[in-house]
C-alpha cells in the first residue's frame, strides 16, 4: 500500500465512522457498536502496520499545497506514530467503555459521532507534519469535544462547556497568531527542520522568543498549565469516557504534544536552550505540578481530584521537555504515553464507581474494594503509578525525570518531584485506604448511594474490561519496559534517532 493511502485510510477510518454514525438512526445500537469497534480495531491495525513499517525505515507522507508556500502535510515520524498508537489503543478501550457507560442514555448517536470526530482530530494532530496541519486538527479537536462536554445538556454541563470554550477558543486564536507570525518570519517549517530557525539571523532572536511564548500560551491552555488550567476541572461534568479521553489522550495531550513538537521539531532543543526558553518551561511546569497537587488535595469529590491530578501530571511532560538532555526528552515523551494509560484507568474506575454504586464523593468509597475488587485493583494500580511506585509505569517517568534533571544540572527539580510525589501519595493513599481498609456497606456499615441491579460480574463487562485492560497495560508497560516496542523502549529509540542534542 502506498504511503499516502495508508495515512489517508488511518485518518479516514475515524472520519468515516463519524459520518456513518451521524447517518445511522439513533436506535441502531448494534450497527453502531459494530461500526465503532470495527473501526477502532482497523485503525489500531493500521497504526500497528505503520509502526512496523517505520521501524523498518519506511516513510508515509501525504502532502498537498493549500496556499502559496504553505502545505497540508500528514507524515509519520516515530514521535507522531507513538502518539497515534496511544490514541488508537485508548480509543478502542474508551469506545468499549463508552458503549457500556451510555447504555440506555439518550443522544448516543451524537455522542459517538463526535467521539469519532474527536479521535480523528487526535490522530490528525499526531500525524501532522507542520504547524499549519497541527493547528487544523487542533481546532477541530476543540470543536468536536464541545458537544461531548455539554453532552448531558444540564445547566452545569452547559456552563462547563462555556468555560471550556472561553479557554480554548482564544487559545486557538493566540496559537494561530503565533503560527502566522512564525510563518511570516521563516516560511513553512516542516517538523524536523530545526535548522531553519537555528540559522536565522541573530537579530531575529528576540522575536523568536516572543513567538515561542505566544505559542506556549496557545498550547498551554489545552495542556492545562497554571494559570490556564481553569477549564479542566469544570469539564468534569462530562460523562466518564469523555473525561478519560479528554484527560488521557485527546485534549490535554494535544496541548502537551504541541509543546513537544514546538520545542523539539520547530525550535530544536539546542536553540531553545540557547534562547533560555527551557528554564522558563521548567519553572512553569514546576509551579503547575505543585499547584495541581495542592488543589487536588483539597478536593472532596473523586473526579475533580483526578482532574487536578491531571493538571499536575501533564506538567511532568512539560517539565521533561524543559530538561535539556536525552533523559529529560525520554521522560517527556514516555510520560506522554504513561500518563495516558494510567489516567484513563483512573477515570474508567471513577466512572465505574459512579455508574455501579452512585459514588461521587471520596468519603463514600469506604469498603468499595470488597464490592468491586477488580475495579478497585485497577484503580490502585493507576493511583500507585501516579505516585510513582514501581512497577507501574509512573515510576519510570519519575525516574527519567529525576535523572534527567540531574543531567540538565537542575537538581532542585528533584525537590519538586519529591514534593509532588508526597502530595500524590497524600491524596491517593487515603482513597486506597478507604477502598481496601475501611468497612463499608458490604461489611454491613451504611449503604451505597445508588446501587445498580447486581450483575454477574461486579459491574457490566463493557465497563470492567477497559479499566482492567488499561491497568494491565500500565503495569505491563512498566514491568516489561525493556522489551522492544514498549513505550519506554520506543521513546528511547525516538530520542536516540531524532532528538539527540
Amino acid at each position: 500500500m502506498s504511503g499516502a493511502l495508508i495515512i489517508l485510510a488511518t485518518l479516514g477510518t475515524s472520519l468515516f465512522t463519524a459520518v456513518m454514525i451521524f447517518l445511522l438512526p439513533e436506535r441502531a445500537f448494534r450497527a453502531r457498536t459494530g461500526l465503532n469497534l470495527g473501526a477502532a480495531l482497523v485503525k489500531l491495525g493500521l497504526v500497528a502496520w505503520m509502526v512496523w513499517g517505520l521501524s523498518r525505515g519506511r516513510e508515509y507522507t501525504l502532502a498537498f499545497p493549500v496556499l502559496e508556500g504553505l502545505a497540508f502535510v500528514l507524515r509519520t515520524d516515530s514521535l507522531g506514530i507513538m502518539f497515534a498508537g496511544l490514541s488508537s489503543l485508548l480509543w478502542l478501550f474508551t469506545t468499549v467503555y463508552a458503549i457500556g457507560y451510555l447504555e440506555d442514555s439518550p443522544n448516543r448517536k451524537r455522542f459517538f459521532g463526535f467521539f469519532s470526530l474527536c479521535v480523528a482530530s487526535t490522530l490528525g494532530i499526531s500525524l501532522a507534519g507542520n504547524l499549519f496541519t497541527l493547528l487544523v486538527f487542533y481546532e477541530l479537536l476543540t470543536l468536536s469535544t464541545y458537544p461531548l462536554v455539554v453532552h448531558r445538556g444540564t445547566a452545569k454541563a452547559l456552563a462547563a462547556g462555556k468555560v471550556y470554550l472561553r479557554f480554548t477558543l482564544p487559545a486557538g486564536l493566540v496559537l494561530m497568531i503565533g503560527m502566522v507570525a512564525l510563518h511570516a518570519l521563516a516560511g513553512d517549517i516542516r517538523f524536523g527542520q530545526q535548522e531553519i530557525l537555528a540559522e536565522l539571523a541573530p537579530g531575529r532572536r528576540p522575536l523568536l522568543v516572543g513567538i515561542f511564548w505566544v505559542l506556549i500560551v496557545g498550547f498551554g491552555v489545552k495542556a492545562a498549565l497554571v494559570p490556564l488550567h481553569g477549564w479542566l476541572p469544570r469539564a468534569m461534568v462530562a460523562p466518564a469516557p469523555v473525561s478519560a479521553l479528554l484527560h488521557a489522550v485527546a485534549v490535554v495531550k494535544a496541548g502537551a504534544f504541541g509543546i513537544v513538537r514546538l520545542v523539539y521539531d520547530i525550535y530544536g532543543v539546542e536553540l531553545s536552550a540557547e534562547l533560555g526558553l527551557l528554564h522558563g518551561l521548567v519553572a512553569v511546569a514546576s509551579v503547575t505540578i505543585l499547584y495541581g497537587s495542592l488543589r487536588a488535595l483539597a478536593q472532596q469529590e473523586l473526579k475533580p481530584r483526578l482532574a487536578y491530578s491531571t493538571v499536575s501530571q501533564v506538567s511532568y511532560i512539560v517539565l521533561g521537555i524543559g530538561l535539556f538532555g536525552p533523559l529529560g526528552t525520554i521522560a517527556a515523551l514516555s510520560h506522554l504515553l504513561h500518563q495516558g494509560l494510567m489516567k484513563s484507568t483512573l477515570f474508567f474506575c471513577a466512572g465505574n464507581y459512579a455508574e455501579e454504586l452512585g459514588i461521587h464523593r471520596i468519603d463514600e468509597l469506604d469498603g468499595a474494594g470488597r464490592r468491586m475488587p477488580l475495579t478497585s485493583l485497577a484503580f490502585s494500580v493507576g493511583a500507585l503509578g501516579m505516585i510513582g511506585v514501581p512497577p507501574v509505569v509512573g515510576f519510570l517517568s519519575k525516574w527519567y525525570l529525576g535523572t534527567g534533571a540531574i543531567q540538565a544540572d537542575m537538581p532542585w527539580v528533584i525537590v519538586v518531584l519529591l514534593a509532588s510525589s508526597l502530595l500524590n501519595a497524600a491524596y491517593f493513599l487515603p482513597i486506597l485506604g478507604r477502598l481496601w481498609f475501611r468497612p463499608g456497606p458490604d461489611h454491613g456499615v451504611g449503604e451505597w448511594p445508588a446501587e445498580r441491579r447486581p450483575v454477574r460480574l461486579e459491574t457490566l463487562a463493557w465497563l470492567l474490561v477497559p479499566a482492567v485492560a488499561t491497568a494491565l497495560f500500565s503495569l505491563m508497560a512498566g514491568v516489561l519496559a525493556g522489551m522492544p516496542f514498549s513505550p519506554l523502549e520506543w521513546t528511547t529509540r525516538v530520542v536516540n534517532t531524532e532528538y539527540l542534542p
Partner: protein, 490 residues
C-alpha cells in the same frame, strides 16, 4: 492557427453570454410554469456552472479575455478574468442551491402562489445582474447591473408581503436608490473629468487629484450604503427578518458583496495609493466587525443573528483596503487572495447558514433562540449544517474562513499593521460567542419537546452541501487562489 484561436474566442464569448443571460430566460420560463419538484430545477441549472468551469479552464490556460459591445453608438466593455470567472461560478452555484431550496420551501409550507411565481423572474434578473457586474469593465454596465440587482433584491425581499417585511423593504428600497444616486454622482464627476466610462480607459486617464478624490468618496459612500458597511448598515438586519431563507441566502451571500466588488475594482484602478482613506475604510470595516458581532451576539432571534453576522463578516473584506494601499507586493498579494477567499467562503457559509436557520425555524416553528432548546436531538441535520457553516464564520479550520484569516493575518503581520490582528481576534471571538450561543441553546436537554414539522430532504441537503463546500474550500484553496494570482488584480 490564429483562425482557430479566433474561433475558440468566439465560442468562449458565446458561452459566456449564454451563461450570463440563460438564468433570466429560465426565470421567465419558471414564472410562467412554476416548478414543483427540486430535481428538474437542479438539472436545468446544472449546465451553467459546468459552462463556467469550462470558461475558467480556458482562462487558466489562455489568460483572461475581453470584448466590447456597441448598441447605438455606445461602446460597452466586458472582460472575463480569473476573479470574475470564480465569482460567476460561485454565483451560479448559489443560485442553483437557492432555486432548489425555494422549491423545497414551497413544498414544505403554504406560500402564496403568485409570490412564488414572482420569485423566479426576480431570481433570473438577479442572476443576470450579478453576472454582468462580475464581467463588466464599463461604468454604464455596472450602473445598469447594479440597479437591476438592487431592484430585484428589493422585490425578492418583499415577496412574503408581511407588515414588518414591507417596512424593512421600503427602507431598503429608499437607501438602495439613494445609494446608487450617490454612486451616480461620483460617476458623473469621473465622467466629467476624464470623459470615459470604461474601466481601463478611466484608469489610464484619471490622475489622482481633488476631483478624483471627491468623486471616489461619493462613489464609495454610495457603494458602502449598498454593501451595508458600518455605519450605513441599518437597513440590512430588519430586511432579513421575514424574508424567505432562499432569498436571504442569496442576498447575504452575493448581493451585498457585489457592491463591495465594484468598490474594490474602482479603488484599485483609480486610487491605489490613497492610504489615509483606505485606512478609514479599514477602520469602518473593523467597527463593522465589532458592531455586527456584538449585535449578533445579543440578538434573540435566529435569523436576526445570522443577518447581523453578515454585517460583521463584511467588515473583514474592508480590511483589504489598508492592506492593499501602499504596502509591499507580498502583503498586497496575500491580502488580495485573502479577501476573495473570505468572500467566497463567507458566501457559501452564509447561504448555508441562512438555509439551515430557515430549516430550523420552519421545523421548530419558532424563531427565537430559546425555542431551539433540544434541537440537537430533534433536528440534528440542520443543526449540524448550521455548525459547519459556523465553523467558516468563526474562521476555524479547516474552512475557507480559516484559510482566509490565515492569509489576512499573515498580511497584517508582514505589513506591521497590528490593529487588524486585534480586529481579527475580536471578530473571531465575537463570532464564536454568537455561534455557540445558538449551539448552547440547542444542547439544552430540559426543554419540553415540541412537534417537529418534517421538511423535504433536499432542503437540508442543499444547505449541507453549501456548508461542506465552504469547509472544503479551506483546504482546497490552492486552485482558486492560483487563478487569482495569475490575473484579476488590476
Amino acid at each position: 492557427m490564429s483562425a482557430s484561436l479566433d474561433a475558440l474566442l468566439c465560442v468562449q464569448t458565446t458561452v459566456l453570454w449564454l451563461a450570463l443571460l440563460a438564468p433570466s430566460l429560465l426565470g421567465l420560463w419558471a414564472w410562467r410554469f412554476p416548478p414543483q419538484r427540486m430535481l428538474p430545477v437542479l438539472l436545468a441549472g446544472l449546465p451553467l456552472p459546468l459552462a463556467t468551469l469550462w470558461l475558467l479552464h480556458r482562462v487558466s490556460v489562455g489568460g483572461e479575455f475581453e470584448g466590447a459591445w456597441s448598441p447605438g453608438g455606445l461602446l460597452l466593455h466586458w472582460r472575463l478574468d480569473g476573479l470574475a470567472g470564480l465569482l460567476l461560478l460561485l454565483t451560479q452555484l448559489l443560485l442553483l442551491a437557492s432555486a432548489t431550496y425555494a422549491v423545497g420551501h414551497r413544498r414544505a409550507t403554504t406560500l402564496a402562489e403568485c409570490a412564488f411565481a414572482g420569485f423566479w423572474p426576480l431570481l433570473g434578473g438577479l442572476a443576470a445582474a450579478l453576472g454582468l457586474i462580475w464581467v463588466a469593465a464599463d461604468l454604464l454596465i455596472l450602473y445598469a447591473a447594479l440597479e437591476l440587482m438592487g431592484l430585484c433584491a428589493v422585490g425578492m425581499m418583499l415577496l412574503p408581503g408581511k407588515g414588518e417585511a414591507l417596512v424593512a423593504g421600503m427602507r431598503y428600497l429608499l437607501y438602495a436608490l439613494v445609494g446608487s444616486l450617490a454612486w451616480l454622482l461620483g460617476v458623473a464627476l469621473l465622467l466629467g473629468s476624464s470623459g470615459r466610462l470604461d474601466l481601463a480607459g478611466l484608469a489610464a486617464t484619471t490622475e489622482p487629484g481633488p476631483v478624483t478624490g471627491i468623486a471616489m468618496a461619493l462613489l464609495a459612500t454610495g457603494l458602502l450604503l449598498k454593501a451595508a458597511i458600518f455605519p450605513l448598515h441599518g437597513w440590512l438586519a430588519p430586511v432579513h427578518a421575514s424574508a424567505w431563507p432562499s432569498v436571504s441566502a442569496l442576498h447575504g451571500a452575493l448581493v451585498v458583496k457585489a457592491s463591495f466588488f465594484i468598490l474594490m475594482q474602482l479603488w484599485q484602478r483609480l486610487m491605489p495609493e490613497a492610504v489615509a482613506a483606505a485606512w478609514l475604510l479599514g477602520l469602518l470595516g473593523s467597527l463593522a466587525v465589532l458592531w455586527g458581532g456584538l449585535q449578533a451576539w445579543r440578538a434573540s432571534d435566529l435569523k436576526q443573528m445570522v443577518a447581523w453576522s453578515t454585517v460583521g463578516q463584511l467588515g473583514y473584506l474592508m480590511l483589504a483596503f489598508p492592506l492593499l494601499a501602499g504596502t509591499s507586493v507580498a502583503v498586497a498579494t496575500l491580502a488580495w487572495q485573502a479577501t476573495w477567499l473570505q468572500l467566497a467562503g463567507h458566501a457559501l457559509a452564509k447561504a448555508a447558514m441562512f438555509m439551515a436557520a430557515g430549516n430550523l425555524v420552519l421545523s421548530a416553528g419558532e424563531s427565537r433562540l430559546t425555542g431551539l432548546a433540544g434541537a440537537s436531538r430533534r433536528l440534528p441535520l440542520p443543526l449540524m449544517t448550521f455548525g459547519i457553516a459556523a465553523v467558516t464564520l468563526m474562521g476555524l479550520p479547516p474552512s475557507a474562513g480559516f484559510t482566509a484569516k490565515w492569509l489576512l493575518l499573515q498580511a497584517a503581520i508582514l505589513a506591521g499593521q497590528w490593529l487588524w490582528v486585534a480586529v481579527l481576534m475580536a471578530g473571531t471571538l465575537l463570532a464564536a460567542a454568537y455561534v455557540f450561543r445558538v449551539l448552547r441553546c440547542a444542547f439544552v436537554e430540559t426543554a419540553p419537546c415540541h412537534e417537529v414539522r418534517p421538511l423535504p430532504a433536499g432542503m437540508d441537503l442543499m444547505a449541507l452541501l453549501l456548508a461542506l463546500g465552504a469547509l472544503g474550500l479551506g483546504l482546497g484553496a490552492e486552485w482558486p487562489l492560483a487563478l487569482l494570482r495569475e490575473g484579476g488584480r488590476p
